[in-house]
């Protein structure tokens, strides 16, 4: 039997981010904040993304533009594992909604 602790969990913010990355492709953290309608905050979005990277839901790469001062940009995309977890969550939600309805 699967240990309950082994089941991947998704918080509301993580679902929002995965939803964006799966359906609209890779994105910068700031783009995620701007399209979230106030759900994601500038300061904490990168902490959430870092935690999701630890869980294997997203991966990122640095993008250094030419003649650019300061640290490089970081672009994020959903991993296969992240997409599977998100779809499993969607199916579970649909099944739950069906059972209630």
């Amino acid at each position: 039997m699967t240990d309950m602790q082994d089941i991947p969990r998704l918080s509301k913010k993580e679902r929002l981010i995965l939803d964006h990355l799966i359906h609209r492709g890779e994105a910068y953290g700031l783009a995620l904040v701007k399209t979230s309608g106030g759900e994601l905050k500038r300061g904490t979005v990168y902490v959430t993304l870092s935690r999701m990277a630890d869980k294997g839901y997203v991966e990122s790469r640095q993008v250094k533009e030419r003649d650019e001062n300061g640290p490089p940009k970081r672009v994020f995309r959903a991993t296969g594992h992240g997409a599977r977890v998100f779809h499993a969550w969607e199916m579970a939600q649909a099944a739950w909604a069906g059972e209630l309805g």
């Binding site: 910068y28 870092s50 001062n69 300061g70």
Partner: protein
């Protein structure tokens, strides 16, 4: 719209430097007063000696802040540099170097990058249109960027503490 690659000194607005100076003054006074208290000089030093020490410690605090690169506060106060052409992200970059490499790359650097990008966009708009609204926007972006950095640091510290407690609980 072409972004300015460096922040020209003209963008370092008088009032913003004034705000920084005021903040540095407050910090300097606090540090120097704490120094007087810690050194225990209040009891036997005469009043002018005490004041002199406060002034010296405040000057040292200003110089230290200036060396850290907080805009132009420290060295500017000492008359060595009146304006700064440094991006405000530089100080945050330096602060983020205290964290681990992974957290710096994943959490803090993107916050600083967003601040720099949004500020440069606002300044480019100002350069193109000449409307002061964009200059105010650039200032607001800096203030908000510092707030975002603080939020990120707070969230990261909370998360790290929670993980540490969890590990401790599992080990115990």
């Amino acid at each position: 719209m072409k972004r300015p690659q460096t922040i020209a000194p003209t963008y370092v607005d008088d009032w913003f430097v004034l705000v920084r100076l005021t903040l540095a003054g407050g910090l300097g006074t606090f540090v120097s007063s704490s120094g007087v208290y810690v050194l225990g000089l209040k009891a036997d030093a005469s009043q002018w000696q005490e004041k002199l020490l406060v002034v010296c410690l405040a000057a040292m605090a200003f110089a230290f802040l200036g060396l850290l690169g907080i805009g132009s506060i420290g060295l500017a106060f000492l008359g060595l540099r009146l304006v700064s052409d440094q991006s405000p992200g530089r100080f945050l970059e330096m602060l983020s170097s205290f964290s681990s490499d992974r957290i710096r790359c994943d959490v803090f650097e993107p916050v600083v990058r967003d601040l720099i990008d949004e500020r440069l966009d606002a300044l480019a708009e100002f350069e193109a249109t000449g409307r002061r609204f964009y200059l105010w926007k650039a200032r607001w972006v800096v203030v908000r960027g510092y707030g975002s950095f603080g939020n990120a640091a707070l969230a990261q510290i909370t998360l790290s503490c929670a993980r540490w407690l969890l590990r401790l609980r599992k080990a115990g």
